[in-house]
């Protein structure tokens, strides 16, 4: 059977107003005319899970650092026998990826290197992971010390007296360079254990698929997943704060949490309020370094800078506690069920296979929790501090007249920012006006127009001709890009009985309920008790919502996506990677979500015929784990 093809990059229409978009990104990030033949021969899939919206020029930093550092661990650190890294390009504002295989004849030679390197990590896991936490925290601490103050009118007298001989501009340049370096550093650390977590998981996964043919992916995930993960910690902190507020009878002070200062001072002044305030302050550091997004965009809102978000969640939890609801996750029941599943599969094996099962599962269960937990330290904490510092710099330069809006720095590439800084210190140093204020505002307006125009088009799910069979393990695992998935995008999938959507059976169970479509974190407050959340993609900080809803349906994401993991944690059905749920389903429609089969039916009268091609899952978006 010959597969249909996805469009070539050159075949995608440039949205009106986005002409010249290539030039707002670095030269090495866009497809090259001179390489057209080679680039068109490769299969590229869009990672819209991590980068669902168009990059502003500065924001490519997250994509570049993340995918580069992922690749280096495959290709240079661990010498993964059959997989190098992933090439990536920005096309029309979206990120496309193409995994690089290892040539057949080199695989064998890499095996002993791989064993030695991976073996070292697995044998010294605890110690190395402990060290990782120290390194990562050190990076964050140093990042926190960076600041971008306005340059002084003159060199301070003490620098004259001490004979320092420098004007301080070098500090500004260093600070910027150091901030970029520190971000790069933690992105390197990010993958130090992540690939290992996936390797251990894949090893157990492949073993299970052999001894238990067709075992559901869900079962394998359940057997290695941690139940009490650090990623749930911020949400758990809010729940504890809600319970304490109820215990101290502080409920009346949470009536208008949008006013953060008034709420916090009213609570503090109330009897017992000091105890609550102390617990709140303790929870903030570090657990409020938590974004409503995924850490990859400059517009992400972090809890510690938008405390109305966690306070709103606390207020909602208080209401639910008052209504007699149990807000804590059923951790004990989940552990019992997980242990039952492990035990029952294990009992099906004998002898050497049982020993292998124990070894491989043990390894995966040791390594896998990192896959979730690292997310808090890098995407949330590190990037939270990073973006805060970038905003500080952007505002300083805005004050110097470089641009008009506070966050306009994002319309410059990170190396252009370095140029603008040199422009600033030069002008300042010589006592003249820098050039930037006459150059950047107009250029930024032009770029803003291009980015806005690019945003009017959704990405293609993939580019060029897919391989007959997709075997590359990381692509399958991290992004859920399987042969079947690609078929679905190409419209060759199997229709859902009675009309509806098909995705990944990510968390078991069947429920019916009303849809609530959420395409932006700002809409989360609209979610009502007992609704079914329908979203492009979910983020870890949406935790409080999961205690309210009945099921989740996403456009993007695989078995290990955030929505899938959290739904299994909360015991809610989930269907992920439907491709188009958030655009097909309307808020208020009645849905039947079958998280065991991976189907979503729209039960309302306006059900188009089954087999309507519009209803078949056809992109956009790659499936993925949400936190590369």
């Amino acid at each position: 059977m010959s597969l249909k093809s996805f469009p070539k990059p050159s075949e995608l229409a440039v949205p009106a107003g986005a002409e010249g978009w290539e030039k707002i990104y670095p030269y090495y990030l866009v497809f090259q005319d001179k390489l057209k033949e080679q680039e068109d021969a490769k299969f590229w899939f869009c990672d819209s899970q991590h980068w669902p919206t168009v990059f502003k020029p500065f924001e490519t930093i997250g994509g570049e650092f993340a995918v580069k550092c992922l690749g280096q661990y495959n290709a240079r650190h661990l010498m993964i026998p059959n997989a190098n890294g992933i090439e990536f390009r920005v096309h029309l504002g979206y990120l496309y990826m193409s995994p690089i295989p290892v040539p057949e004849d080199q695989i064998a030679a890499r095996v002993p290197l791989f064993e030695q390197r991976v073996g070292h990590y697995f044998q010294n896991w605890d110690q190395l992971l402990k060290q990782w936490h120290v390194k990562v925290k050190g990076t964050i601490d140093e990042m926190e010390t960076i600041s971008f103050p306005k340059l002084p009118d003159m060199v301070p007298m003490e620098d004259i007296l001490s004979g320092k001989g420098k004007d301080g501009s070098e500090k500004l340049l260093e600070s910027y360079d150091r901030l970029i370096q520190l971000a790069y550093q933690n992105w390197q650390y990010h993958f130090e254990f992540l690939n290992l977590g996936y390797i251990a998981y894949l090893d157990f996964f492949n073993f299970c698929k052999q001894v238990f043919p067709n075992i559901p992916d869900q079962s394998i995930a359940t057997m290695v997943q941690g139940v009490d993960m650090e990623l749930f910690r911020p949400d758990d902190e809010l729940k504890q704060l809600a319970k304490l507020a109820v215990e101290l009878r502080l409920q009346p002070h949470f009536s208008n949490t949008d006013d953060v200062d008034a709420t916090l001072s009213a609570v503090a002044a109330a009897p017992g309020g000091d105890r609550w305030t102390a617990q709140y302050e303790a929870a903030k550091d570090p657990w409020f370094n938590f974004t409503v997004g995924n850490g990859f965009y400059g517009h992400d809102k972090y809890w510690n800078e938008h405390q109305e978000i966690p306070l709103g969640y606390i207020a909602d939890y208080i209401r639910r506690v008052d209504e007699g609801q149990e807000i804590m996750r059923p951790v004990e029941a989940l552990i019992i069920e997980r242990d039952r599943i492990i035990e029952e599969y294990r009992d099906l094996l004998e002898g050497e296979n049982q020993a292998l099962f124990d070894a491989k599962r043990g390894l995966a269960a040791t390594a896998y929790p990192y896959v979730e937990n690292h997310n808090f330290y890098i995407e949330h904490w590190t990037m939270g501090v990073f973006w805060r510092k970038i905003r500080e710099l952007s505002r300083m330069m805005q004050a110097e007249g470089f641009w008009t809006e506070p966050d306009d720095l994002l319309y410059l590439g990170r190396n252009e920012v370095r140029d603008a800084l040199f422009d600033l210190v030069t002008g300042w140093g010589v006592g003249a006006k820098p050039i930037g204020p006459d150059y950047w505002p107009e250029e930024i307006e032009r770029r803003r127009g291009i980015v806005d125009a690019l945003k009017t088009a959704r990405p293609a799910p993939a580019l060029n001709t897919p391989p007959e069979i997709i075997t590359e393990p990381f692509t399958r695992m991290l992004w859920g890009i399987t042969t079947e998935q690609v078929q679905q995008w190409l419209g060759a999938g199997v229709a859902v009985e009675g009309g509806g959507l098909r995705g990944m059976a990510a968390s078991p169970g069947v429920v019916e309920g009303l849809a609530r479509v959420v395409t932006d974190a700002d809409q989360l407050s609209e979610v009502q008790q007992g609704e079914i959340l329908v979203a492009t993609v979910t983020a870890p900080s949406w935790g409080p919502i999961f205690g309210k809803i009945k099921a989740t349906v996403t456009d993007i994401g695989g078995m290990m996506s955030h929505a899938a993991i959290v739904c299994r944690e909360y015991g809610l059905p989930a269907v992920t990677g439907t491709g188009s749920a958030s655009t097909t389903i309307k808020t208020g429609q009645r849905l039947r979500v079958d998280g065991t089969k991976g189907t979503v039916q729209i039960l309302d009268a306006l059900i188009p015929d089954a087999g309507d091609p519009e209803l078949l899952v056809a992109g956009p978006g790659a499936h993925s784990h949400s936190h590369v």
Partner: protein, 359 residues
């Protein structure tokens, strides 16, 4: 109506004893309490038979009649057998005993919207009769309706202790007539709406992590004999997730005709043919029951099951038979998986030791 020394419900929660319930009765109680619901019913215990015999005062006469018998003298054996059985059938059952039986029957009927037919079967303690299956086949009375028919057939079963064949068997094997007793099972006739088989493995490859279910409308005979193509569903044994399903044609069904006391074949309409014969919840229940049977008997099982039209949802799944799965059993006992030892994945070249986690 509670279980007592004289009548004991399958689900009465009393520890089954072979001496009082007989082999069949004890097995039905055991299965019910292990979560393998057989068609509901009760056992008229050996204690009731003993009380009846004591009240009738015929035990001694019977022993005398049997004492001088020559097992080779068939016509004499037949004559004595007929006399004893006539005696048992015609004597009154003590009033208290009769009330227990009638009460139990009425309690059983009260579980259904309308009275349902029952089967009455003898349940011998092991040595009394040639063999249990022979006795079971011989003394099974189907489609009985009303208390009169039931009590009559209970005595019929009692009398079967003294068939010519049973008498000769005991004579030849020197089994004494003292202490002879008999329990009787009264059990609802299955009115199968949907039925089929379930195997606690994948019979195509011996994979024990699956449960395979065949399901079609009516009683299971057409599935077992291959007269219809049933729905075929494969589930994961641990999580009960559906792995694959194929809808069968299911063109016909056999359904009980209580009036005629037999099964009649009829066509299945297109709507029912086009959908799966089991709902999701029913499918899960069948799989759970198969799992319980495997756990109870400690080896892969091949069960027959039915959904009874007379019972409410949640209580209507019945286990008709459970036997060891034999096709793959030898294979399964040595290798639980298709491959003896699995290699591959990322660590194909690794020894297991290299992979030990540090904790």
């Amino acid at each position: 109506m509670q279980s007592n020394d004289y009548v004991q419900f399958f689900d009465g929660g009393i520890e089954p004893r072979l001496e009082t319930l007989g082999g069949k009765g004890a097995s039905l109680v055991t299965m019910t309490s292990a979560g393998m619901p057989v068609p509901p019913g009760f056992v008229v215990t050996t204690a009731q038979f003993d009380a009846f015999m004591a009240e009738a005062g015929i035990t001694r006469d019977i022993h005398e009649l049997l004492a001088g018998l020559d097992p080779e003298d068939m016509s004499q054996v037949d004559k004595v057998s007929a006399a004893i059985r006539e005696d048992i059938r015609s004597r009154p059952v003590p009033q208290a005993m009769r009330e227990f039986t009638v009460g139990a029957y009425e309690a059983l009927m009260s579980r259904f919207e309308a009275p349902v037919p029952v089967a009455v079967r003898s349940s011998a303690t092991a040595e009394d009769l040639p063999d249990a299956s022979f006795a079971g086949q011989q003394d099974t009375y189907l489609w009985l309706e009303g208390v009169k028919a039931v009590t009559e057939h209970i005595r019929q079963c009692w009398a079967s202790l003294f068939t010519s064949r049973a008498i000769i068997y005991r004579l030849k094997n020197n089994i004494p007539n003292e202490g002879l007793s008999m329990a009787v099972v009264v059990q609802k006739m299955v009115n199968a709406r949907v039925s089929g088989v379930a195997i606690t493995m994948d019979p195509t490859n011996g994979d024990r992590s699956k449960i395979t279910i065949d399901s079609s409308y009516g009683v299971g005979e057409m599935v077992v004999s291959g007269q219809v193509t049933p729905d075929n569903i494969k589930l994961d044994k641990v999580t009960l997730a559906v792995i694959s399903e194929h809808l069968g044609d299911k063109h016909a069904e056999l359904v009980p005709d209580a009036a005629a006391g037999r099964l009649v074949e009829r066509e299945v309409d297109d709507e029912r043919r086009g959908r799966r014969s089991l709902s999701d919840a029913e499918l899960t229940s069948v799989a759970q029951m198969a799992k319980r049977a495997e756990k109870h008997y400690k080896c892969p099982q091949d069960i027959e099951w039915a959904l009874d039209a007379d019972l409410p949802d949640g209580e209507n799944l019945l286990l008709l038979q459970s036997r060891p799965e034999t096709v793959h059993s030898s294979k399964a006992s040595t290798h639980t998986a298709p491959q003896p030892v699995v290699s591959g994945g990322y660590f194909s070249g690794f020894s297991a030791g290299t992979l030990k986690p540090s904790i």
